[in-house]
Each structure stands twice: as structure tokens, then as C-alpha cells.
């Protein structure tokens, strides 16, 4: 594990050094001689949140650099560097930590990804949740989003894609808490039906992963979000191995470009050490113009300790191609161990990319 962490550190450091030349033009020119091309993209994500449970106020969600590199025609690399963020705990690890190499084979052959990456389960490979206010089921369904490991991905035919991955199951920049590994597989197929584009994915996962209390939002509550023990239902801290469970998960996900609308969905089912867990998530996005769109979301999650149901509506507007403003209202009703809670949250977000 130490060697793996050192590898990730060296990757980040190397890419930072390569990308620290005065201008991108010079970088491209200089790096050509070594067969290395790098580019850095910066992002500021600031949010104002008002909620009835927990703190309200303005937050710096992320000031980050995303560095990508192409090393000849054989290797691509990417690293995400959080320069500043108010996020803490395992919620931070769900947003930050990408750092990986992709080893490319010949055209048509699978590629191999090594490092810390977004795990290939459900809609995660195709839906970039990192910059969104509204999230999918992964914080509860998996308990992680980015994890260290190895992934093989490729195509079975022109329209059918697959991913196979082995990861450690404890999130980025953390040691393997139990020595167990998480195995996952996903296959998806792209279809064109009349004027509609549809992608359908099937995923399966088995391994030991954290289980969050349904009364907590791991993304918003940082280190305060509790894990729950499967045997006793007791709440424990995020690094307590008792808050992990042997999970089995299956998912059907889809992405449906229906005319001008986009509908995404995910059905998850499985168990935590034999105790049922399941959830459903549906997102509808309707564009009013190139710049403006409205979204609506329905979601539900149920596990051995309790359940939550939620809905949300939102509005997105591009001020420019590199400036996005979003506002969303989300309500969740959660029940766990005889306790009930309703959470209302209004979030306004402003993103600048440069």
C-alpha cells in the first residue's frame, strides 16, 4: 500500500512539474521533444447552502486543478489537485482523489487504468457528478466514488462497452482497512431508437465497503456523517471497521436522450451481509435554450437500518461557456431506528472554469 501511495504521489508531482511551464503553448512545444503533452484546467466551485438541518452559509466547495497528460501514444494520465475545499471526511474522498495512468493498447484492444479513479458502477462512468448539486445514490449504495485499484475497459463490439475493476474499498488516500478487495463489472450498450439515443448499463459489485447512516449526508456533513454497524445498528466513526459491510450490489442504469430531453436513471438492489438494500434514482432534464435548462429528480434508498425518500428541482444557466450558475431545492425524508427527519436544502452554485 505504501508503494501504491508513493506511485500516486509521484504521478501527481510529475504532472504538476510538467504542467508548471509558463504557458500552454510553450508546454506543448517543450514537451513534444519528450513525447509528453500536458494541460491544466482550473475550477472554482462556490456554493451558498441554506438548510433546516445543519449549517447554512457560503462554502468553497472546490478550488481545484485538473491535470491531464498524454505520454506518447501509449499512456494517458490524469490527476485532480484540490487547492482548497471546505469538504472533509469521506465526502471529500467522493469528490477528490482522481490520480491515474491509462495504458492504451492498439485500437480495438482494452485499456488498463491504474491508480485512483471513479469506480465503474451504475451511471458513474458516464455521469460526472463531481460538479453537480444533485447527486445519485452512490454515497449510500457504495459508500465510495473514487477508489484505488486497477480497471480494464474496452469494447465487445461497436456499441457495447465493458469495464472490470478491482479496488480496495476504502476511498482515495486511505489504507486498505480490511485487506478485502472490491470486485466490480459493468457492461453497457448504446442504442439509437428512432430519434432517441439510449444507453443501458448493467453492473455488479461484491466487496467490503462503508455503510452510511441514512440520517446523514456524507457529502455535506464531512467527518460528522456516521457509519452504521450492520450487527447492532450502532452509529460509529468513519474510520471504524465496524461500519463496513460485505456488500453485493446489482444495478441497471440508463441514459435516454429523448428528443431534446435527457432522462437518467438507476435501479440498485443487493444486500449488506445478507440484509436487503435497494434504491431508485431518476433525473429529468429539459433544456429551455442552449444556455438554460431545468431539472427534476426523484430518489429513494432503503437499507437494513432505515430508508430515505427525496425529490429535487433545479435550474442551470450558462453565463458563458466557462461560467455556470445553478440553483436547486432538495427535500429528503429519512427514517432510521425509529427516528424520523425531514431535510430541506436550498443550494445556489457558481462555477468558474479557467
Amino acid at each position: 500500500m505504501r508503494a501504491f501511495r508513493a506511485l500516486i504521489f509521484l504521478l501527481g508531482l510529475s504532472l504538476l512539474v510538467l504542467s508548471s511551464v509558463p504557458s500552454l503553448a510553450e508546454a506543448a512545444e517543450t514537451d513534444n521533444s519528450r513525447g509528453i503533452e500536458t494541460v491544466v484546467k482550473y475550477r472554482l466551485d462556490s456554493r451558498y447552502m441554506s438548510q433546516n438541518e445543519g449549517e447554512s452559509g457560503l462554502e468553497l466547495m472546490a478550488l481545484e486543478a485538473e491535470i491531464t497528460a498524454a505520454i506518447g501514444d501509449k499512456i494517458d494520465a490524469a490527476v485532480q489537485v484540490p487547492l482548497g475545499s471546505g469538504m472533509t471526511g469521506r465526502g471529500r474522498g467522493m469528490h477528490f482523489g482522481n490520480a491515474y495512468f491509462v495504458f492504451k493498447g492498439k485500437i480495438g484492444k482494452p485499456t488498463v487504468k491504474v491508480g485512483q479513479f471513479v469506480v465503474p458502477f451504475g451511471n458513474l462512468p458516464y455521469y460526472e457528478t463531481h460538479t453537480r448539486i444533485l447527486q445519485t445514490l452512490y454515497p449510500y449504495s457504495l459508500g465510495i466514488r473514487i477508489d484505488p485499484g486497477i480497471e480494464i475497459e474496452g469494447f465487445l463490439d461497436k456499441d457495447t462497452e465493458f469495464q472490470l475493476a478491482v479496488t480496495q474499498g476504502n476511498g482515495p488516500f486511505r489504507g486498505d482497512i480490511d485487506g478485502n478487495k472490491v470486485l466490480m463489472a459493468r457492461v453497457s450498450r448504446q442504442l439509437q431508437i428512432g430519434d432517441d439515443d439510449v444507453r443501458i448499463g448493467l453492473s455488479a459489485l461484491k466487496g467490503r465497503l462503508p455503510v452510511f447512516s441514512v440520517m446523514a449526508d456524507p457529502l455535506m456533513e464531512g467527518r460528522g456523517a456516521k457509519l452504521v454497524q450492520i450487527g447492532t445498528g450502532m452509529l460509529v466513526e468513519q474510520d471504524d471497521p465496524e461500519g463496513f459491510a460485505d456488500k453485493t450490489r446489482y444495478a441497471v442504469d440508463f441514459e435516454w436522450y429523448k428528443g431534446i430531453d435527457l432522462i437518467r436513471g438507476e435501479l440498485v438492489f443487493g444486500n449488506d451481509q445478507g440484509r436487503s438494500a435497494n434504491g431508485q434514482w431518476l433525473l429529468f432534464e429539459h433544456p429551455l435554450s442552449y444556455k438554460t435548462s431545468v431539472v427534476a429528480q426523484l430518489a429513494r434508498w432503503k437499507q437494513f437500518s432505515g430508508d430515505w425518500k427525496g425529490w429535487a428541482v433545479g435550474l442551470e444557466h450558462k453565463l458563458r461557456d466557462d461560467r455556470i450558475a445553478r440553483v436547486a431545492f432538495e427535500q429528503r425524508r429519512a427514517n432510521e431506528m425509529g427516528m424520523g427527519m425531514t431535510m430541506n436544502m436550498l443550494t445556489a452554485q457558481y462555477i468558474i472554469e479557467f
Binding site: 504557458s23 500552454l24 503553448a25 508546454a27 506543448a28 513534444n32 513525447g35 503533452e37 500536458t38 494541460v39 484546467k41 472554482l44 462556490s46 452559509g57 457560503l58 462554502e59 468553497l60 478550488l63 498524454a70 506518447g72 501514444d73 501509449k74 494517458d76 471546505g86 492504451k104 492498439k106 485500437i107 480495438g108 469494447f155 461497436k158 439509437q192 428512432g194 430519434d195 432517441d196 439515443d197 436522450y257 428528443g259 431534446i260 435527457l262 433544456p287 435554450s289 442552449y290 435548462s293 458563458r320 461557456d321 466557462d322 461560467r323 457558481y350 468558474i352 472554469e353 479557467f354
Partner: protein, 185 residues
């Protein structure tokens, strides 16, 4: 303490809003299906490598003069995907994010080594006549064209009926990529 934090976030957002107006930023359009596109446009090719191209001030002006409008804020850099076979370059693929009526139209253009179009594809879009826009009847019109062709709807490109604006967005993206390639290659 909290008020102090708010001031920092606001200051950062305002500073970056101002500073980022002229800063560098990579074009957003990703190439989603390299394998399939290479198989379709360059059958037999073995691999590809990515070259980043950032136009200088004079090159930017030259591009803008030829396309008749400003580059987008996120177009300070372009990616040239060099397609290789046996170590030799057999062509280049470029991508562009066009502004459709209801969202981005992601366009892929494959060029041979003489900068003639070998093929054009749409990766993603939110337009109303999706199947017709992606048909060979429409996209096939771009094949064989180069920087000397007008590539405009109503001139050498017939638009998809009922999707005239979307058709012109595609044509403009192709035209822009040919100009970018001509100046930065």
C-alpha cells in the same frame, strides 16, 4: 471565523471572474469514442497520440478573421489527435462543441494528411432531428471538402429540413475546425 471564510470565497469568485476573462482554458469537447471513430474513418490504424495546440495572439486573430466571429471563451486550446499506423501519421481527428438550439452538439471531424475531410460524426446532441442530422445524407455532404470550400448551409450543404439552425451549427463547426487545422497544423 465564518464571516472571514465567506469573505475569502466571495473574493476568490470575484477575482477569478475578472481574471479568467482572458486566461487560458482548454476546449471542453472530449473525444468520446476514439476506437470506434478510428475504425470507421481510418480502418487498420493502430493507435493515436494527442497534441495540444494553443494559438498565439496572431493565430487567434487569423482564425477569427477567417471564421468571421470570435473564438469561444473555452477555445484557447485545441487537441489534434494524430492517427498512426506503423508509426506513420495517416490522418488527424479534431472535435468541436457547437452551440445547438437546446445544448451542445459534439462534432468529430476526420482529416487525411492533405487536410481533406474523410468523415464527420456527431457524438452527442440535444436537437430535435437527431437521426436526420446524423444520417449519411447530411453528414456525407462534408466528405472530401477542404478549407477552400464554403461549407455553409444554403451554399454547398443542404440543411436537414426543420433543423436548419442545427445544420448550420454543424457546418460552422466543421468550417472552424478546418481553419484551425490550417493555421495551427
Amino acid at each position: 471565523m465564518k464571516f472571514h471564510r465567506i469573505k475569502i470565497v466571495v473574493a476568490l469568485a470575484v477575482a477569478l471572474s475578472v481574471a479568467a476573462t482572458s486566461s487560458s482554458y482548454a476546449a471542453l469537447c472530449v473525444w468520446r469514442k476514439p476506437d470506434q471513430d478510428i475504425k470507421e474513418f481510418f480502418p487498420g490504424a493502430e493507435t493515436y497520440k494527442t497534441e495540444y495546440k494553443k494559438p498565439s495572439g496572431s493565430q487567434e486573430k487569423a482564425i477569427e478573421k477567417r471564421i468571421g466571429t470570435s473564438l469561444d471563451p473555452d477555445e484557447s486550446e485545441f487537441k489534434f489527435y494524430r492517427i498512426l499506423n506503423g508509426g506513420k501519421q495517416v490522418g488527424t481527428i479534431l472535435t468541436h462543441l457547437g452551440k445547438g438550439q437546446f445544448g451542445a452538439i459534439e462534432i468529430v471531424v476526420a482529416l487525411d494528411n492533405n487536410a481533406k475531410i474523410k468523415g464527420t460524426a456527431i457524438q452527442r446532441d440535444r436537437e430535435k432531428k437527431r437521426a436526420e442530422l446524423r444520417s449519411d445524407k447530411f453528414l456525407g455532404q462534408f466528405r472530401g471538402k477542404d478549407k477552400n470550400d464554403p461549407i455553409k448551409t444554403g451554399q454547398d450543404i443542404n440543411p436537414v429540413p426543420g433543423a436548419e439552425k442545427s445544420s448550420e451549427t454543424v457546418a460552422f463547426s466543421v468550417r472552424k475546425l478546418l481553419v484551425v487545422y490550417d493555421i495551427l497544423n
